[in-house]
């Protein structure tokens, strides 16, 4: 991978004509900006705000699970009618909206919207996205979703309360649940706009990565972040239309009684519901056809970013670059044929369940290959314990747990027992929080200098890491053994069951940890905003990393690069023997390497 090729003479990318940028006003620079970096930051700020909201919703959920029907401190009087305790319908709304906010307004847009936007043009050496206007729209289409989801808390009956999966008939029949009124309609509208936003983004990312790479930036010289973003965009583009269609079908079921998802003769609340003629399982198939690939949409970009960060702070080339690329592609391909593992207990044909079980077992393989290659990358390195590196290492450590626990539920007979229990809750929080969120923090600490021209405080960064790491494990690891008892998800109060009555102390412990985990983020928030104005000023390449983004000014101006970057090598040329400095940037010309080698031999 250190082989050097001559700079290409003329190709599509270097032939681009650079147009002068129009005069900027405040509105066009910071609000309706077409600059991918500003759009990326808009996504970042919006999603971090929703991250806070989603986290507080989770705390309220944890409060009820630990101390059912007790007065909620501080905010209890705001939302509860009787004293300060929450009602069971309020509780169902809380966990529905916690998942909805975290998935659709935080994880997906922070990975693709914030980091995809900010990093793709910078890392491939382009001056902007292929379609800057579409890019701007991809952010502004999030606003109707923000408003729809946000407003739904205040409509009659409250926000959606049918679970983030919105299984009909609970979600389609207004009589079935208070949140199945306006709350659910707004939920579906919000979901549609998130989908439009994602689709605009994914078209842009694919086009940009295919057509706008700098001269010399071949596909197999792309950093893993870009490979992950590219494959994620492909997943979005193919899976999303199915969810959008299903969402419209559910909307039609609710508004025009089309009955796609409701069988004949359904009786809800002692009233015969709708004409029927449909099948509840149809929604589950359509929903998971999107939402399982979406699970990979929610982890692959983090995997890519973590790969880049690990190599930089281990000062070592990525172990097995091509296997890493192929395993992402493998996860994406298999990701389309495993959706049925969410439905093993749904009443789906059990023989079909066996098919999905085999494909699900097999998708553990590319994840395992990635983990081994990360271990290989750390092996033999010179590890620098920056905050970013600690988060990246913890991503690997935690992803191992989330990956392995997945095997339990892939095994259909075991899934009979643990399906819809806290074992599943543990599993996906290890993947999405302990995995993706930790990867996102690694990425924030890593690329912050490029975003804001300053570096975050390392000491408080490490305190933030340490506390988050301890508390997240206290909260989520214990969920595995709760799941082993069969402790079910989504119960407002499970302690009146003989099987679960003794589990309250353990749940109280988890809630204390969850409170600690959310409180630790205050440190992050202060560090994030303080460093923006008072952090040490960052050079172009504060980490001595190799990617193209580190050749641009920090922060880069509109148009990104002050000269046309030309790429001569892969992104992971760290610690090359015979070269004095311990890294060769992708833009370092081959003669630098040769000169260094010659100097060494004399």
């Amino acid at each position: 991978m250190s082989t050097v090729t001559a700079p290409p003479t003329v190709d599509h990318a270097s032939a681009q004509v650079r147009k002068p940028h129009p005069v900027a006003t405040f509105l066009s620079t910071y609000v309706f900006s077409k600059d991918h970096k500003v759009i990326g930051l808009q996504f970042l700020f919006s999603t971090l705000l929703w991250f806070l909201i989603g986290g507080l919703l989770a705390l309220a959920v944890r409060w009820q699970v630990a101390w059912p029907w007790s007065d909620v401190p501080v905010v209890g009087k705001l939302f509860a009618q009787q004293g300060g305790q929450m009602s069971p319908e309020f509780y169902t709304m809380l966990f529905t909206m916690h998942a909805t906010v975290m998935i659709f307004l935080v994880i997906i847009p922070i990975l693709a919207g914030a980091f995809g936007n900010f990093l793709i043009p910078l890392m491939i050496g382009a001056d902007d996205m292929a379609f800057p206007t579409l890019n701007m729209l991809s952010y502004w289409f999030m606003w109707p979703a923000f408003i729809a989801f946000g407003a739904s808390f205040f409509v009659e009956g409250g926000a959606a309360s049918g679970g983030w999966t919105s299984y009909p008939p609970l979600s389609t029949n207004i009589a079935a649940s208070p949140g199945s009124g306006w709350g659910q309609t707004l939920w579906l509208i919000g979901l549609t706009f998130v989908g439009v936003s994602s689709m605009l983004g994914s078209v842009n990312y694919m086009t940009t990565i295919i057509l706008m790479r700098a001269p010399g930036m071949t596909m197999f010289r792309l950093p893993m972040t870009i490979w992950a973003m590219f494959i994620t965009a492909v997943l979005q583009a193919f899976a999303l239309p199915v969810l959008t269609a299903a969402g419209f079908m559910q909307l039609a079921d609710r508004m025009f009684a089309t009955g796609f998802f409701s069988p004949e003769g359904n009786i809800v609340n002692n009233a015969i519901a709708g004409p029927g003629g449909g099948q509840p399982l149809l929604w589950q198939h359509l929903f998971w056809f999107y939402s399982h690939p979406a699970v990979y949409i929610m982890i692959l970009p983090a995997m890519g970013m973590v790969s880049d960060i690990l190599t930089c702070f281990a000062r070592k080339p990525l172990f097995g670059y091509r296997p890493m690329v192929y395993s992402i592609a493998g996860i994406a391909g298999l990701g389309f044929i495993v959706w049925g593992h969410h439905m093993f207990m749904s009443g789906m044909n059990p023989a079909l369940g066996i098919t999905f079980m085999v494909s699900t077992m097999m998708i553990a393989l590319p994840s395992a290959v990635k983990t081994f290659n990360w271990l290989g990358t750390v092996w033999g390195g010179r590890i620098q314990f920056t905050t970013s590196m600690l988060f990246a290492l913890s991503f690997v450590s935690m992803f191992i747990i989330g990956g392995l626990s997945g095997i339990f539920m892939a095994a259909t007979p075991v899934d009979i027992f643990i399906h819809d229990t806290y074992f599943i809750v543990a599993h996906f929080h290890y993947v999405l929080f302990a995995g993706t969120a930790m990867g996102v923090w690694a990425a924030i600490y890593f690329w912050y200098p490029k975003m804001f021209g300053r570096t975050m405080n390392e000491f408080w960064g490490k305190v933030h890491f340490f506390l988050t790491f301890i508390f997240l494990n206290g909260t989520f690891f214990t969920m595995h053994i709760l799941g082993a008892v069969g402790f079910p998800r989504r119960l407002a109060d499970a302690y009146h069951y003989e099987t679960f009555h003794h589990l309250q102390p353990m749940n109280a412990f988890m809630t204390y940890c969850a409170i600690g985990m959310v409180a630790s983020q205050i440190i992050f928030a202060i560090n994030f905003f303080w460093s923006m104005f008072y952090g040490p000023v960052a050079s172009r390449n504060p980490w001595n990393a190799n990617g193209l983004e580190w050749t641009a000014p920090s922060p880069p101006g509109h148009g990104n690069f002050d000269y046309q970057p030309v790429v001569y090598r892969g992104p992971y040329e760290y610690s090359v023997p015979g070269v004095e400095k311990d890294h060769l940037m992708q833009t370092d010309p081959p003669n630098a390497e040769a000169a260094a080698a010659a100097a060494a031999s004399h």
Partner: protein
Amino acid sequence: MKRAAGIFWALLFLAVPVLGVATFAVAPSIDVWLPEDVSEHGREIDSLFYFILALTGVVFIATEVLLFWFIWKYDAAARGEEKATYIHGSHTLEVVWTIIPAATLLFLAIYQMNAWANVKMRRPDMPPTVEVIARQFEWRLRYPGRDGELGTPDDLHLVNDLHLPVDEDVLVQLKSMDVLHSFFLPNLRIKQDAVPGMKIPVWFKGTETGSHDIVCAELCGWGHYKMKGRITFVTRPEFNAWLERKYAEQEATQPVEDVTGTLVTN
């Protein structure tokens, strides 16, 4: 000082496998573990659970300890002037760590099929012992009447109190009246969603007399948490006597039709 920081972080990562294993080791002794199994097929599921736990446990310990060891050993502060190893990968290693997990996963996939088929596919050839109809937020039960057939006017209607004979195959016909529910019997390792518009067979054999929880495991609305039933296994003679008593109780009260047309007792 820098080395001390490296050691601190390495030990933090070592805490993951140490405390992880400790949690699972302690859990059974503090009764936060699989509930008592009173079914015939449950052993098969539990042993598969333990098998996967052992398998993933070994991989978990091995990978986490390796990660700890690498973090400990390859700390820049511990390596002096030495450069990082310049290596881009190993074809042999990639082949090894692809084929071994692939073979293991494939084995696991094939190995478990029989257990799955026993619980979900090899339905005993018999008429339903009882029909369970889930609705918000209760389990309605319908036993065949004295004529031994379901769907006749003398059917026995009960709510939430499921009695079944021990040591016999039982076949439950599972339905839902309104929204999705899930018929979860933790002590029998049984879970099956109830889907409106579908009749789903569920079968098992209880091996001990006694009474256990019926839990709803699929979100069904605000009262989901209180959709509790009890399943009680009794001997065949006791079961017959219980049925007889319930028949008599029902005959003493006139069955009426509710708005849905279902016959219920007052």
